[in-house]
Structures are given as structure tokens and as C-alpha cells.
């Protein structure tokens, strides 16, 4: 009985080296102890790890207590091997292969081979082990991965979203992938178009066209006749020619809405149109369009024409004739009224004295002020026309009689009724004419003796006609303010010339009184120096320029064209002002402070 042990090892070149020796006997000890029949140097092997004993046609495997081996692929501490079939024992990194042997055979062949590499083999030439490349994925693969990821999310996905939307097959309603292309939020006016890129960007690789804008803005009209617009275009300087060439190359037709109305500039009002968009053409419009009625206009501080208000230049019968006249020619207005502003605003005249007396009742101060007679319109931008009963009658009383506790007044605006009332009053009475029926008679508070005088005068015999003529003649109550067409001799058909005030003087530009509330009225209008109603108290360019300059001006209020003018002209305020007012934007100009 013997074991034939074949120790298999490999040379450096991989050649198999087999050493064979015989161990006589029925027992075979395996362990790290050099005294063992099979000596394994692996430290994982115990000094005496396992004993294999032959019992007839079996091999009994007995592992030292607490240890184990792998017997035919299964972990075991005791077991046996049929000689007929042979078997494997795996101890740490060594495999013991018992070859099949015939039932009564004398020799059992055992192959001992090192399977696992117990020795940590370090490839000496592997500089690579020291580099990060050994623990990180390759840079090239990483580069491809990242690049493809970016292209997929940043390019392919949005493009797919565009075509999906066109085919109406878009799946995500809440997020549209092409939004990640948006270079900035849309203005608040267009906030509703967020996520609807194709509303404006209709066709790929085609710049936004006006047709897209006009889908919604259907009522915006052209600035002027397109032919005249084209003619008015400025000569192109070198840079502009380069710019135009660039625009031609990249399909950016000039003159589109979006040139002025730039978008994706953040969630606020659309930015104000720059001054140059106006000044480019209007700066020297006369050269381009000699027949234009418009004077050249550029920077407000340096190149703006004097204002030309529309005023009542005269009368054609009962109708006022409106004319647009430049302020430079010091035009006179004919409102049909006589009214000396200076007298009314004086702090020392009788008017002031009367204002002080009536102050308690009407809220006058030490002298009359503009607001005592002029009422702003509800929008605050302009003023309501002066109304005799509302604005003048506090002082300019037309009372002529007392009936019980009620004062009878002449009817303003109805001369025929005045004649009839007076005639009625004087019927069969005569008295000395009281001084209070003098021109522009003023009632003093608690003035009952005067009233008595009037009544006595009225009772005088046969004076109705005289009184009527007196009212309409120089020194009479009507004559003080109105121009009167005298009737033919013998007739009492007196006619008052009509009175009219323009509601708006500056039609081409916009002016808002509210924006100027911090200023005193007289600082612009200078009414306290005007002695005639024909004086036009519209401030001139120089007055505005005290505070306003052009777009880049250092004046307190740098003002681009858009502050007063609108490209798409209509009667309302320029859209820039509307936007600022509606959105309550924090403004940084004097205009703004006024409105706060």
C-alpha cells in the first residue's frame, strides 16, 4: 500500500514540472509542518491540517477539529472519497487530486498542485499601478460619455421637443425641453409665452419675423408709409454696413419688431427702445424727406425742435380755428376770454384780500393759487377746462336779487335768459344803480347792505333796459370776462362770443402733470407774470431742458425719445410710461419720485 504523490509546479515560462515520490502506508498527513507527508507552505494551512486514511475502497478524510477543507467542491470537516471515482480536496490554495484507482490497486495516485496565487504577484514593470488610471475610468471614455450626455440633453432633446410640438405630439405639458435653450426670462408682458418657444421662433434657423408678433398684436399700425420709412433710413457708416452685411449673411432682416423690442432680457418690462432707433432717421429727416412737415429731432438735450403746440389761433364764426404754431414765434391764443393771470395770482391785490376773506369757506390761502381755479382731470395727466360756476363763481357772483332766503343769480352762458330775468326784475321799478352792479362785481361775505341797495335800485322806475345794457357793456358783469357782440341799435339781443380751451396742446408728445407734481406750477408756466389771456403759458423747450436731457445726459432726468413719444403713435401715453406705471417699477428718475 502506498500513495504516489505527484507535485505539479510551473516554471517561469509556464512549463509543467512534475515531481513524483512514494509514501508508503495507509495514512497520509497533510499540513504546514515539514514532518507531514504532504508539506504545504501556504500559511492558511494548519501545521497538521488533515489526515487521509485508506479503508478498503475508500479514503477517509479527517480534518483537524475547528478546521475545514473543500471536499469535492463542498466544505467539510470529515468525509470520504470513493477510490473508484477519485476526488478532490482543496486546502487553502492547494488542490489534492486523488486519481480514480481500481478496487484492489496497490497504489493511489495523488496530484498536488497550487491553484490560487497565494503570493501577491506584483508586476514590477507596472508603472501603471502607480497612476490614477489604475483606479479611474479612462479619460477618453469619460470624455465621450460626458460629451454625448451634454449633446443628448442640450441639443437632441430640445430639437425633439420642437418637432414634437410641431406634430402636436408633445408629451410633457409642464416642461418643454427647448426651454433649456432660453437665454433669459421673457418680459412680463410675454410671460404667458414661457414654454411656447414656437410662438415666436416659428421655423428653425429663421430669425423671428413680424408675422409672429402680429398674430397677437394685430392692431399695431405702421410708424409711417413703408416707402417713406425706407427713404428716411440713414446713410450707412462703415460699421453699420458691416452690421448689415452680417445681418444679411445670417438672415436677420433689418426693421423687424424685435430690433427694438428685444426679448429674453429678464422678467420685467421690455426694455425701453434706445434713442438711436429714433434719432437715426429723425436726426436729419429733412435731408432724406425734404417734403416732411416734421423738423429734425435727435437728442432731447441737444437736437430737439422747439415745441409747436396746437392752439386756438382765431375763430371762424362760432368755431375755433386750431393751428399748430411753434413757440418760437410767441403765438397768441384766442380763447375768447379776458383773464389776467397776474392779477389773480398777486399776493397784494384786492383779489388776494378777497381770497383771504373767503378762505374759510373755499379753502383759499393768503392769495389765490392755481389749484383754486384749475382742477386736474381724473387721470391726473391734464386739467379739466375751467368752468365758470365751479371755478370762478366763488368770487364772481352773479346774484342780483333775494327771494325769501334764496339768492337769484343771472344765468351764466345764457344771455337771452339774463335779459329776460333782468327785464322781469325791473318791471315797473326804478332806483339808483348800486355800485355793486359795476363790472366784475364781487360779493363780500355778509354783505347785506349791498343787497339792499341792489333791490332798491331794481325798484327804480324804467331802468330794466339800462341795467341790461349795463351788464353787457364795459363796466358790466359779463363784459369783465367776455367779448360781447353788441346788437343793432334799439335791440337788446346781446351775444357773448364763444369761449374754448384746447384740452391738449402738445399732440405729438406726451406730457403728464402727475409726473411733475413735485414742481410748482409757476416754475414751468409762469402764470403770475401773464397779464393777458392771450398769453400762451405752455413751457418751452428750454424750460423742460432745465431737468430733462438726452438719453446719455447728466441732467437730473435723462430722457430718451420714448419718454414722450411713441413709435406706434396713438393718443395715449407712450407705452414706456404705461409699462412703468402699471408694473410699479422702482424708478430712479425725478419723474419717478414725483409719482411715488
Amino acid at each position: 500500500m502506498a500513495f504516489l504523490i505527484r507535485t505539479v509546479s510551473h516554471s517561469a515560462e509556464g512549463r509543467e514540472i512534475v515531481r513524483t515520490r512514494r509514501v508508503e502506508g495507509e495514512r497520509l498527513s497533510v499540513g504546514r509542518d515539514p514532518a507531514c507527508d504532504i508539506h504545504l507552505t501556504d500559511l492558511a494551512v494548519a501545521l497538521r491540517h488533515v489526515v487521509i486514511e485508506r479503508r478498503d475502497d475508500r479514503l477517509k478524510v479527517a480534518v483537524e477539529p475547528g478546521l475545514s477543507v473543500e471536499l469535492n467542491g463542498r466544505k467539510a470537516s470529515v468525509g470520504q472519497i470513493e477510490l473508484g471515482t477519485g476526488g478532490d480536496i482543496l486546502i487553502a490554495s492547494h488542490a489534492l487530486r486523488f486519481m480514480p484507482a481500481a478496487a484492489g490497486s496497490d497504489e493511489i495516485e495523488v496530484a498536488v498542485e497550487r491553484t490560487g496565487d497565494a503570493e501577491v504577484k506584483l508586476d514590477k514593470s507596472a508603472e501603471r499601478l502607480f497612476t490614477l488610471a489604475s483606479v479611474l475610468p479612462g479619460k477618453r471614455g469619460l470624455a465621450w460619455l460626458l460629451a454625448l450626455l451634454v449633446l443628448a440633453i442640450g441639443l437632441a432633446w430640445p430639437i425633439k421637443a420642437y418637432y414634437d410640438r410641431r406634430e402636436k405630439a408633445e408629451t410633457f405639458a409642464k416642461f418643454h425641453a427647448d426651454e433649456i435653450w432660453s437665454s433669459g426670462s421673457l418680459s412680463s408682458a410675454h410671460a404667458g409665452l414661457k414654454g411656447n418657444c414656437t410662438a415666436c421662433h416659428v421655423k428653425p434657423f429663421e430669425a423671428v419675423r413680424d408675422t409672429a408678433c402680429k398674430t397677437c398684436h394685430s392692431k399695431v399700425h405702421d410708424h409711417a408709409d413703408p416707402i417713406r420709412l425706407a427713404r428716411a433710413r440713414p446713410d450707412l457708416g462703415r460699421w453699420r454696413r458691416i452690421e448689415l452685411a452680417f445681418k444679411e449673411t445670417f438672415d436677420l432682416p433689418p426693421g423687424r419688431c424685435v430690433e427694438c423690442h428685444t426679448e429674453h432680457e429678464g422678467k420685467k418690462e421690455m426694455p425701453v427702445t434706445a434713442q438711436r432707433f429714433c434719432a437715426d432717421c429723425h436726426g436729419d429727416l429733412r435731408k432724406k424727406l425734404p417734403d416732411t412737415p416734421l423738423p429734425d429731432a435727435g437728442d432731447f438735450g441737444r437736437a430737439h425742435p422747439q415745441f409747436s403746440p396746437v392752439l386756438i389761433a382765431g375763430w371762424s364764426g362760432e368755431r375755433p380755428v386750431l393751428k399748430r404754431l411753434p413757440l418760437a414765434g410767441r403765438p397768441q391764443e384766442d380763447s375768447g376770454l379776458k383773464f389776467p393771470h397776474a392779477l389773480h395770482l398777486s399776493a397784494t391785490s384786492g383779489v388776494a384780500q378777497m381770497a383771504r376773506r373767503l378762505g374759510g369757506r373755499y379753502g383759499f390761502g393768503q392769495a389765490l393759487e392755481c389749484k383754486d381755479c384749475h382742477d386736474p382731470a381724473p387721470d391726473g395727466a391734464r386739467f379739466q377746462p375751467v368752468d365758470m360756476e365751479q371755478d370762478c363763481a366763488m368770487c364772481h357772483d352773479l346774484a342780483f336779487d333775494r327771494s325769501g332766503g334764496t339768492l337769484r343769480t343771472l344765468r351764466h352762458g345764457e344771455p337771452a335768459q339774463v335779459v329776460a330775468d333782468l327785464r322781469d326784475f325791473y318791471r315797473g321799478r326804478n332806483a339808483a344803480r348800486p355800485s355793486v352792479l359795476a363790472p366784475a362785481a364781487r360779493r363780500r361775505p355778509g354783505d347785506s347792505p349791498d343787497l339792499r341797495n341792489r333791490i332798491q335800485f331794481a325798484r327804480g322806475p324804467g331802468s330794466a333796459e339800462r341795467a341790461i345794457r349795463g351788464v353787457f357793456s364795459p363796466g358790466g358783469a359779463c363784459w369783465g370776462c367776455h367779448r360781447i357782440d353788441a346788437p343793432l341799435a334799439g335791440s337788446l339781443d346781446f351775444r357773448i362770443r364763444p369761449v374754448a380751451f384746447p384740452l391738449r396742446y402738445l399732440h405729438k408728445g406726451w406730457f403728464d402733470h402727475r409726473a411733475h407734481a413735485t414742481q410748482s406750477c409757476s416754475s414751468c408756466h409762469g402764470a403770475e407774470r401773464s397779464n393777458a389771456a392771450s398769453d400762451l403759458l405752455i413751457p418751452d423747450l428750454g424750460s423742460c431742458r432745465t431737468c430733462h436731457g438726452g438719453e446719455g445726459s447728466s441732467k437730473p432726468v435723462p430722457s430718451s425719445c420714448a419718454m414722450c413719444h411713441d413709435y406706434h403713435m396713438d393718443a395715449g401715453a407712450p407705452s414706456m410710461l404705461i409699462r412703468q406705471r402699471v408694473k410699479g417699477k422702482k424708478r430712479d428718475t425725478a419723474v419717478a419720485q414725483a409719482r411715488r
Binding site: 500559511l43 494548519a46 503570493e119 490614477l132 435653450w181
Partner: protein, 302 residues
């Protein structure tokens, strides 16, 4: 630039001076100082010109990548990025002279810094959660990693040289392997339990561990250290032959610990020296992809 940058002993992988060592001498000039900062000056002038244009040109309604000047800056920027990327190809061929690799590297560094100015002005300081800002962010990431790389190349190669105490890398590995063999022999007389402790150390893989271990140099669960501690503990309670064997094993484990520490320090310095390239290179290609998306998107929704 400290002396010794890019001397051949400390020359890091992937960035080589073009001059043979024999020419170096005392007059060696690093790529940062190249030709008395020629490219630094060029870049400075380029940046100042870009800033001057930005200040003088009144883009309406506000500075914008879509204004004429914005397009100009964008074009310069993208060309610069593409040229800067070419260093990846150019570096594979080392040449000398006016257009030497050193000159290229110098230009790469300084023009890359000028790119930050140009691209930032191109944005008009308008940022958002979009593909355009993504491209900008990636560019900044690339530049920052490049800056780190310069600092690393300035400071670390000296440590790399010092850390290996006159040994080559294969020698360092060899030392550990020799110790392992000695350990294996010395542990043969040990009992099974003691042998398993030694086996712990033998199973210790020197180059195991991921990026974190490489960069931090932390090997808290080092098996050799544990084996050493355990061996010492057992040594205190053993006697006779066993004590003798354990003593020799402990001495070997100590030497192995030192050898491992040397390798690990080397690995850490090398990782710190190389890590930026794993950002710089892949993100560059992500940047180019983002640029493509940026440009195509602008024209798609023109």
C-alpha cells in the same frame, strides 16, 4: 516658479519639457516664464482690449451675447477653446524652437486665462439655468482644474521625488514583495492562528482602494498594521520558540509597514498630481459638446 519644476527627475507624466536634460543647466526656464512671460503679456493685452471694448461699446438694451460685440467675443472665445484643446494633440510631438511644445504650453495656460475674461464678457453677466450657462460653467470648471494643475505641477513633483527615498517605483514594489517572501518563510513555524494573522498582511493588496484612498492617503483598515498590532499582542504572552518566530515576524511586519507607507505616500502625491486631468480633459469635451449645443440652439431659434 520654484527651481526644479519640470526637471527630468520630477517631470510629471504627460507634461514634458522639450529640452533634453543636458541643455537644462542653470538657465532652465519653465513654461510659465517662457520667453519672459511673452504669452502672459499677449493674454493681458487681449483681455484689456476685450474689457475696453466692453466698456466703450454701448450695447442696447444691455450688454448681451447677441449684440455685435457679443458675437465677436463669442467667436473669439470658441476659436480659442478649440485651439486650446489642440494641445492634447500637440503635446504628443515634442519639438523645440519658436513653436516648441513649451511655447504652446505657455500660450495654452495664459490664453486659457484670457478666455475667462473673453467668455465672461460674452455672457454680458446674464446667467440662467440653460445650456448657454452650462457651457460657461463647464469652461470655468476646465480653467479652474487647469489652474489646479499648474499649482500641482509647481509644488508636488518635489514631494514625489522625496517620497521615494532614491528608489524607483519597481524597487518600491520589489521591497514589499521581498518582505512578503520573508514573512512567508518566517511564519512557517507559527501555529494556525498566528499564521492567519500573518496571512492578513500577505493578503493586503498594496494598490487596492479607490480614488478616495489614493487622494486622502488614509488607510485606516490597513491589514499589515492590524497584523503588526496583533502579533505584538501575542508576542507579549508567548514564550520559547513561538516567541522567537513571532519576534522575527513582527520585525518584518514593521519593515513592511514602512515600505507600504512609502508607496502610499507616493501614490497620494501622484494622485494629487494627476487628478486634475480627469476633470480637465473629459470636461473639455463636455464643454465642446455644450458649445455645439449653445451655437446650434442660438441659430435654431435664431
Amino acid at each position: 516658479m520654484p527651481e526644479g519644476l519640470l526637471t527630468s527627475a520630477a517631470r510629471p507624466h504627460g507634461m514634458m519639457a522639450s529640452i533634453p536634460r543636458t541643455d537644462l543647466g542653470a538657465s532652465h526656464e519653465g513654461f510659465l516664464r517662457h520667453r519672459n512671460f511673452r504669452w502672459a503679456k499677449v493674454s493681458l493685452i487681449l483681455s484689456l482690449l476685450a474689457l475696453l471694448g466692453y466698456a466703450l461699446i454701448d450695447a442696447q438694451p444691455r450688454p448681451n451675447g447677441g449684440s455685435p460685440y457679443g458675437y465677436a467675443l463669442g467667436t473669439v472665445g470658441v476659436l480659442l477653446i478649440l485651439w486650446l484643446t489642440l494641445l492634447g494633440i500637440r503635446k504628443r510631438a515634442m519639438t523645440r524652437g519658436r513653436w516648441s511644445l513649451k511655447a504652446w504650453t505657455s500660450a495654452h495656460v495664459y490664453l486659457g486665462l484670457a478666455l475667462v475674461v473673453i467668455a465672461t464678457l460674452h455672457t454680458g453677466f446674464q446667467f440662467g439655468w440653460n445650456v448657454h450657462t452650462l457651457a460657461y460653467a463647464l469652461m470655468i470648471l476646465v480653467v479652474l482644474s487647469g489652474l489646479y494643475g499648474i499649482v500641482a505641477y509647481t509644488r508636488l513633483p518635489r514631494q514625489l521625488g522625496a517620497s521615494r527615498s532614491e528608489m524607483t517605483r519597481p524597487q518600491m514594489i520589489d521591497a514589499v514583495m521581498k518582505l512578503d517572501r520573508q514573512l512567508r518563510t518566517a511564519a512557517q513555524p507559527l501555529g494556525h492562528e498566528d499564521a492567519r494573522i500573518v496571512q492578513l498582511s500577505l493578503d493586503d493588496k498594496v494598490f487596492a482602494g479607490g480614488l478616495y484612498r489614493r487622494l486622502s492617503g488614509r488607510h485606516d483598515r490597513c491589514k499589515t498594521a492590524r497584523a503588526l498590532a496583533e502579533t505584538r499582542r501575542r508576542l507579549a504572552v508567548s514564550a520559547g520558540e513561538e516567541a522567537q518566530a513571532l519576534e522575527s515576524v513582527a520585525a518584518l511586519l514593521e519593515r513592511k509597514s514602512a515600505a507600504l507607507a512609502r508607496i502610499r505616500h507616493h501614490l497620494r502625491v501622484k494622485a494629487l498630481l494627476e487628478i486634475w486631468l480627469w476633470v480637465h480633459v473629459p470636461v473639455t469635451f463636455a464643454l465642446i459638446a455644450a458649445l455645439a449645443a449653445h451655437i446650434v440652439s442660438v441659430f435654431f431659434y435664431w
